[in-house]
Assembly symmetry: C3
């Protein structure tokens, strides 16, 4: 994702323990929570790529808006995920 | 919470180290960060249930809106937390 | 941050593994994810203080709005980060 400029950064919090409903039963799994920093404009392509690589039929691919952030950091995200980078 | 259909999933990130103000002093504790996926409509009941079970007088029960997510995943949350499930 | 009333609490999730673009190359580092609870009004001072202490040139200092939360917990954040505390 990062290499393909779909995210400027990916932070891995792992393992986490996940408990969830699937196929009518409660499942328990160790999972990796990956926090990726990207732009709204790149989300769809990032989601498609995650889905291609993920082992789950319905992976958790969601985004939360950054309400505020330091200008240089937000600019860094925009710059590093810019589609102009060698597409 | 998951069993009671108040959340479709609960992801446990633990232990985390928490530093906070309480009773006029800075406290340090190991805590469990539990990320639960639910709907806004279920939040109140989920919050009430967490409060019943939690050991803190003022537990951290907050929600952050998912700005965007894949359609199947969001539908899965709605379906698995539906009040129609055996209430 | 907590001691200086810039945040009511700080939760440390560590170590996390971070992969990111910097100076034209992909970097990998162990990082500490620090989740701080504060008010929008205190964000700027908190951000300035983090920058003073952080080792990165462009540290990740962002905020996500709490969409909903229990009244006592939100009040606790406001009270514990109030500028009136000995400034």
């Amino acid at each position: 994702m990062v290499e393909e400029r779909l995210a400027a950064a990916a932070q891995v919090v792992a393992p986490i323990e996940s408990v969830y409903w699937w196929a009518g039963e409660i499942q328990c799994s160790d999972e990796w929570l990956v926090l990726m920093k990207t732009t709204l404009g790149r989300f769809e392509r990032l989601a498609r790529r995650v889905r291609e690589l993920h082992s789950y039929e319905v992976p958790q691919i969601v985004a939360v808006a950054l309400t505020v952030g330091t200008a240089d950091y937000l600019e860094w995200i925009r710059r590093e995920t810019s589609p102009d980078f060698g597409e």
